[in-house]
Symmetry: D2
């Protein structure tokens, strides 16, 4: 696959941003493979993502960032340059349910997910063998319900040790403490098994069955300290009927959960998601 640099930025909206950025890239003969803009007129904010053919530029991603910095400063921009040759390091967390984890591992193993997975952390032993078969270290970090702090301290240590760029909660059934959330802002991805904001919190399929809804859903979002209220990345639904019990919903929901989580993770890895306030711009 073609090596690509990605230049992703956001700033207050004003006339001429695209011209400045595009001229900067053209000046060095940068070949733009994909470009996306979005102007949020209500918020007065501008978002942009460029994929540039690495071989078309006469310098590295680091140098690109350095040379772009003055323009960014001038335009009050927040920006990031990434390089597809430098894979993100994604630590996965899980509990007992294997569907999301197995799905991510299979995609990664097939070469369909462009990231490294330095380790998997779980509060249960159940999925060790599955993880280790993929050649990935598995850490069992038990949770003491009466004192969860040691668990999270150890998680934090492992995340640091493995130099994680992102964390994926693949049906990890613990609420992260604020301190952990703030270590990786907009880089911790969760899958919630409901169509948020419906059925926040525990046992959403039971809530869905109670209410008699005709569609159930799943929501992939960035984790903030406010439970199930972080910026939504993607959602999807699946049709159910009066015949479906809670057990059926759990089973049907799994397909939805794993697909939505995988889609959200891919977009994250490809730097397609820009967070502004509590909402996302997704250049999918």
């Amino acid at each position: 696959m073609e090596r690509v640099y990605r230049l992703v930025m956001s700033s207050p909206d004003r006339v001429g941003i695209v011209a400045r950025v595009a001229s900067f890239l053209a000046q060095y003969n940068g070949s733009i493979l994909e470009a996306n803009h979005h102007a949020d007129l209500e918020q007065g904010w501008f978002f942009m993502r460029n994929e540039i053919k690495a071989s078309s530029l006469p310098f590295s991603a680091g140098k690109l960032a350095e040379m772009f910095a003055p323009i960014a400063a001038d335009l009050d921009m927040t920006f990031e340059v990434t390089d597809t040759d430098v894979k993100k390091r994604v630590v996965l967390m899980c509990s007992r349910d294997s569907h999301c984890l197995a799905d991510i591992l299979n995609r990664w193993h097939s070469g369909d997910l462009p990231c490294d997975i330095p380790c998997v952390i779980s509060n249960h032993e159940d999925l060790r063998s599955l993880v280790e078969w993929h050649g990935i270290p598995f850490f069992h970090v038990p949770v003491d319900p009466s004192n969860k702090a040691p668990h999270f301290a150890e998680v934090e240590r492992l995340v640091a040790e493995h130099k994680a760029d992102a964390l994926v909660l693949a049906r990890y059934m613990q609420i992260l403490p604020e301190a952990l959330c703030s270590l990786l802002p907009n880089k911790i991805i969760n899958i919630h098994h409901s169509f948020l904001p419906s059925f926040i919190g525990a046992r959403p399929y039971h809530q869905a069955q109670e209410r008699g809804v005709k569609l159930i859903g799943a929501t992939c979002h960035y984790v903030t300290s406010d439970l199930d209220a972080g910026p939504i990345i993607d959602q999807d639904v699946v049709r159910i009927s009066h015949r479906d019990t809670v057990e059926d919903m759990v089973r049907l929901g799994k397909d939805c959960e794993k697909t939505v989580l995988a889609r959200g993770l891919r977009w994250h890895l490809e730097d397609r998601i820009l967070v502004h306030g509590n909402k996302t711009v997704v250049f999918s």
Copy 2:
């Protein structure tokens, strides 16, 4: 179209119900064109719907009901017999938005909706001409926000005068008083412009935009005195993105609203919806 009698029933679940009902029908040579059963094992409740070719039976729908009554009594059944030659009388209510009303009227006018529409009632004049072009009487019943009682009294009078079997709130933007709701239990159909239970109440698209969801929806439900909490008949969603403003959502949501409402209304007209507690069994 083949004339059909529909025998729709529910009862406590027990062994032998289908045998009793099917044997009863077979005894008179009744030809079953479509049959649906559902046993709710948790609630211990049984639901059944049969479509019987009218010409295969040696008696009328009324007589069928009469002859079935002893079996129903024996099995603690609630049941109803309907006849496709006797169309339901559906009164439509609307405010200013035409999309749901125009859609229902076009289906009816094309012969796609098997019902009579004795009149349309609105708290605004706007849609009079559209309704009258279809040859349907239009009643403008204004609402005085400081005293809504006269409005609802007049609505009640019109509903009675036109012998309505059902009421459809086609984006009628007033909350019905309990007294009116209880006149036609499980026969008043509303379309709410959100994926309930998300975004109950006013301005759901604004709420959706605020939360940053990636799908918006519509919910067709029976009206109870508890706002937006009645038994759900059908729901659907439409994908949106960060580019969509509230105005875009309103526009995109319209397609969802009209399709879901039309589907729910059709099922109601075909006696496919059985309500039990606050949930529906839909033999679609």
Copy 3:
């Protein structure tokens, strides 16, 4: 609604196009409200669409086109400038089925479709009253199956007389002759009642029933002289089951047809569709 100029272009791909176009606009203080690019790497072709706030530019749409022309020439570009204050003139054609026509007319009448509809042409009288209620002239141009030329001659005359910018075949059941197709290339929109390329030609729902498919669909495409083979604009599907007869499919398909056609027409009116070869780029 904000008045907008749209600058839509395509050209051989090369480095610096975006910079040239964006700099041109920035030079005159043009405020870009929405921008979309696409580089087809396989074909080596570049596509771009810009929405510019009209009031931010010191000149008219005509002047914009004039001033942009040298850049376009330099870059071997095909381009077009449109102005939202100049509505496209869309002539609708229909036969007997009203669902697509009524849906488009209702959207237009509600102010949801930004176009003028100078007239409706049909080979049947059936829908005259519906059309005329909307205040639109209706022309009945009968078809003699043994000699269709006079019909198409008259259609051509009416299209010219009404200065049509686009033609929408809203379930108009005649095949257009090549001469008529070539009058308005990539401006005649058809809705075919199947998921193309499945079930080309007549009676697609019968073909679908015969094959036992589990989804039926609709396809909105530009008309070329090659039946049902023109560039596809949009498609959608609806789930069916073994219970659905051809009549049910016809009914269920209608919702799909009208939604897909309306979506395709909107994109056309907003200059979101660029045709290249037999495929479309849709900046939706």
Copy 4:
């Protein structure tokens, strides 16, 4: 889970079938947990599926079949009785792509797929380790392109040796010879990576890209000797855009393929699919 007997049957349609069957079951106090009927009026054929609580009957599944046989004979019925305590033996076949295989294995390993998997057969070695990790024997049976007969002879031998009740082609990229197809009629399930009947045969995503469709799909069907023309079990689609290359389609299509295949396989395992001619009745 409750042990269940399933009585699945089809026959020429006539009055009284349901009464006969339901009365038979009621006579022995059989508790019907789920029942589905379908009368194909055009074909004059009747289909029925009953789930009976095993513990409610005073005899075994075998005895149930024996006692039901005279009724079936009398009504010209084809029927089958199955017992959820006797799991179907499903042999999986694959080539190199792991997505469908890994998905099925994960569902089975999680206890979500009620079947035994006695072995996996492949014409390549690639997926051996994945299969063996699940504790399932893996047989590599190479194909000699110039003489495929030995391959299929060995497949046939393995299928017989492992007493397969069903065969699942989980992206097994060889066409089965007629002799093998006829060994397990309506028990060999394939997933084709297109929305049939579009794009039959090889490289459907390339065909899709060539045609410029806006949705791609997958089709799960029973294998007959007529390539990609067997009875369709289920289909689904996923939206694509002009930005998606063939590689993107392949990736996006995988989610569709594995979900549709898993759904079809589950229905097969639950005896929900009845084949009549070249079409299926699916009591989902």
